[in-house]
């Protein structure tokens, strides 16, 4: 059992996301992370799904996904060289004085951006892989994380290879 990163190219139509996610729950697999957005092809969207399972189970999920009429292509990126990113917005207590300076210092080290400043809090935006964001969040805890929003993971193959349509 290990996390698999699946990239699913779909028709950009109403109801496609529920067809895809419904299939995971129906076959007994949990989605760890999910990200959906438009992609380079007009009329298509790309869904990136992180799902934990054994190889046979993931293969079955992929085959079942492929059977959906609105799914154009399914790729498992897990064993390929790839880049992965997530984005998090973190509202953290940072009162003027020592804590604000420390939080800003940490943000610099992690290359996070300050995107909002209020009297008692600031909002930080950070992108990176899961571990980096986890680490940053952990360090910010001591100052008081008021709210955290995180996107699902997105991924792309390294090099010139691309994931195009066509089953």
């Amino acid at each position: 059992m290990k996390p698999h990163t699946l990239s699913v190219l779909v028709e950009n139509k109403a109801g496609v996301l529920s067809r895809v996610t419904g299939l995971f729950s129906r076959r007994g697999y949990n989605i760890e992370s999910l990200a959906v957005g438009i992609c380079e092809e007009p009329g298509m969207s790309r869904i990136t799904i992180v799902c934990i399972g054994d190889d046979a189970g993931i293969e079955q999920v992929m085959k079942q996904l492929n059977k959906l009429i609105d799914v154009i292509k399914v790729s498992d990126l897990t064993d390929n060289e790839r880049v992965e990113r997530e984005l998090a917005l973190i509202k953290v207590t940072a009162e003027p004085g020592t804590s604000r300076a420390e939080v800003m210092q940490l943000a610099t080290i992690f290359r996070a951006q300050i995107i909002d400043v209020a009297a008692k809090t600031i909002i930080l935006s950070i992108t990176g892989d899961t571990e980096k964001i986890d680490a940053f969040e952990k360090l910010l805890r001591q100052y008081g994380v008021k709210e955290l929003v995180r996107t699902g993971r997105i991924a792309m193959l390294r090099g010139s290879k691309v994931l195009k349509g066509g089953k």
Binding site: G15, S18, G22, K63, Q64, K67, I69, I72
Partner: protein, 558 residues
């Protein structure tokens, strides 16, 4: 200018549809208004579930796409069991449902239900048509998806305003449907076919395991040719009955939970299993680890997701079964003899034929055997689900594909009678029998009204034992005969039939069986036979749940 309803009805006719099964209601009024003076034949059922089963029975008997129609909300929900039945057995139907107007969608409007959401896991695909402009294209896609690749049900949900609105619409000369997300593989991979043939020649004890996919792709002839070319024994699944004649010397009969001993022994002892259009269902395999555990496996199937789903496969061949078998036959040059294997198999067949007690009691197996010999392989046999289904599978001699219609995957009680109505419209010249139990028949018994008013000459043979027989059998064998809620009160089915205007005969002894069956066959209209059979007869042999398929109980020579 044309209304959506007109576009729909004309579209159905363009797809070659002649008969649809349906039930009207509020939001399908525009469609029914269009049907009023259309040449499309509409059969009014008495419950929407029957419309779905009838469309399914039509599709299985004809090989064409069946169509049913229902209103929104309860009408659409009543189709669900029928759609799920078709989905599990890969039967091509198009289910058309009305929906509340688009302005009310999502509003909990009167008779609104999210039928595309509800049927998501039980359809091959479904559509909610939001614009009249899309209707023509969607209908075309629906028939294409239902009837190609691994076949299955497609639902088209049409809001009332979409069917009412008029648009400028001219049907353009038919161009093929192209869907970039749907391109089924039809030709088998040449190298895989070569590998499979090599494996067949290396084997000493091969068995062909033939499933319903052979019927779906009309490949029965190719199956028999392949089996005969090399003299490889064939066992069929419940869904594969009829692909090879029952009395063909290479036929081992059905395998699995209520299969023959010879079929189950042969699969267990085989060194090569050639699975064709079959899906290693748990009712076939029993304990999976012991199923064909000494065999290498070739699996031919149109659905890549079936390959390796339950059992690891050595040579997968994805493709339309008929095309793959034709390619295999074309490449077949060598000869091979499996004589020693065939001798062993003949031994099992001789030692363990299907058997039941032959005495003066009216036993259900006897009724089916007599029907089988009266019809001589002609006619279409539909069954309900349970003991009636298994006895028919065991004792009726099927000689041709599409003459045996049953709910295999979902096991839907109440399926048979409405499916038999559908089968009649597919093959109006054939006699159609529904072999029923008293439990199953009562699940869609209201359709007596449909067969009476439309003079649909379906014959219902009720094996009336006043039990939910299969459940009772399990209670007898595994729950110390504690018959919890499986005993049914006596019903006089002849009286029920008469009340609907259908003739019938009650049969209480063996010597009445043949005359009664003859009377049913000779009657022009529908007919009900109420066979008061031995109440606690069991289906044997039987593989207990979780056991290996060679560990069978019952049906052995005393």
């Amino acid at each position: 200018m044309k209304t959506g309803a007109k576009i729909l009805v004309e579209g159905l006719q363009r797809e070659g549809v002649e008969t649809i099964f349906g039930y009207p209601g509020g939001v399908v009024l525009p469609i029914y208004d269009e049907l009023y003076d259309s040449s499309l034949r509409h059969i009014l059922v008495r419950h929407e579930q029957a419309a779905a089963h009838a469309a399914d029975g039509f599709a299985r008997a004809s090989g064409r796409v069946g169509v049913c129609l229902a209103t929104s909300g309860p009408g659409a929900c009543n189709l669900v069991t029928g759609i799920a039945t078709a989905y599990m057995d890969s039967v091509p139907i198009v289910a058309i449902t009305g929906q509340v107007p688009t302005s009310l969608l999502g509003n909990d409007a009167f008779q609104e239900s999210d039928i595309t959401g509800i049927t998501l896991p039980i359809t091959k695909h479904n559509y909610l048509v939001k614009r009249t402009e899309d209707l023509g294209r969607v209908l075309k896609e629906a028939f294409y998806i239902a009837g190609t690749g691994r076949k299955g049900p497609v639902l088209v949900d049409i809001p009332k305003d979409v069917s009412m609105r008029s648009i400028e619409y001219e049907h353009t000369a038919s161009e093929p449907v192209t869907l970039r997300g749907y391109q089924p593989t039809l030709r088998g991979h040449a190298k895989q076919i070569d590998k499979a043939l090599e494996m067949i020649f290396e084997a000493e004890q091969p068995v062909i395991y033939a499933g319903g996919g052979i019927i779906a792709s009309d490949a029965s002839e190719e199956l028999v040719r392949l089996a005969e070319a090399l003299a490889i024994p064939v066992t069929t699944t419940l869904m594969g009955l009829g692909t090879i004649p029952c009395d063909h010397p290479l036929n081992l009969g059905m395998l699995g939970m209520h299969g023959t001993r010879s079929a189950n022994y042969a699969v267990t002892e085989s060194d090569l299993l050639i699975a064709i259009g079959a899906r290693f269902d748990d009712r076939v395999t029993g304990k999976l680890d012991s199923f064909a555990s000494h065999a290498r496996i070739i699996h031919i199937d149109i659905d890549p997701a079936e390959i390796g789903k339950n059992k690891k496969v050595d040579v997968p061949i994805v493709g339309d079964v008929r095309s793959v078998l034709q390619d295999m036959l074309a490449k077949l040059q060598k000869k091979k003899s499996y004589d020693r294997w065939l001798t062993r198999i003949r031994g099992w067949k001789e030692k363990h034929p299907l058997r039941y007690v032959s005495d003066n009691c009216l036993r259900p197996q006897y009724v089916i055997e007599e029907l089988s010999s009266l019809l001589k392989g002609e006619g279409i046999i539909v069954s309900e689900v349970g003991q009636n289904q298994m006895w028919t599978a065991q004792y009726f001699c099927f000689r041709k594909p599409r003459t045996w219609i049953t709910s295999g995957g979902l096991g839907t009680m109440g399926y048979g009678f409405p499916a038999a109505m559908g089968a009649h419209f597919a093959c109006p010249d054939q006699v159609v029998f529904d072999i029923a139990g008293d439990g199953s028949f009562q699940m869609n018994i209201q359709e007596l009204s449909t067969v009476a008013s439309n003079k649909i000459p379906v014959k219902v043979a009720v094996l009336n034992n006043r039990f939910l027989g299969m459940v009772r059998q399990w209670q007898e064998l595994f729950h110390n005969r504690r018959y919890s809620f499986t005993e049914l009160p006596p019903v006089d089915f002849v009286k029920v039939a008469n009340a609907y205007g259908v003739d019938g005969i009650k049969v209480e002894s063996c010597d009445e069986v043949v005359p009664a069956l003859k009377a049913a066959i000779e009657t022009d209209g529908p007919f009900v036979l109420d066979f008061r059979v031995e109440r606690e007869e069991n289906v044997f042999p039987m593989v207990p749940a979780g056991a290996a398929i060679n560990e069978m109980i019952g049906g052995k020579q005393e």
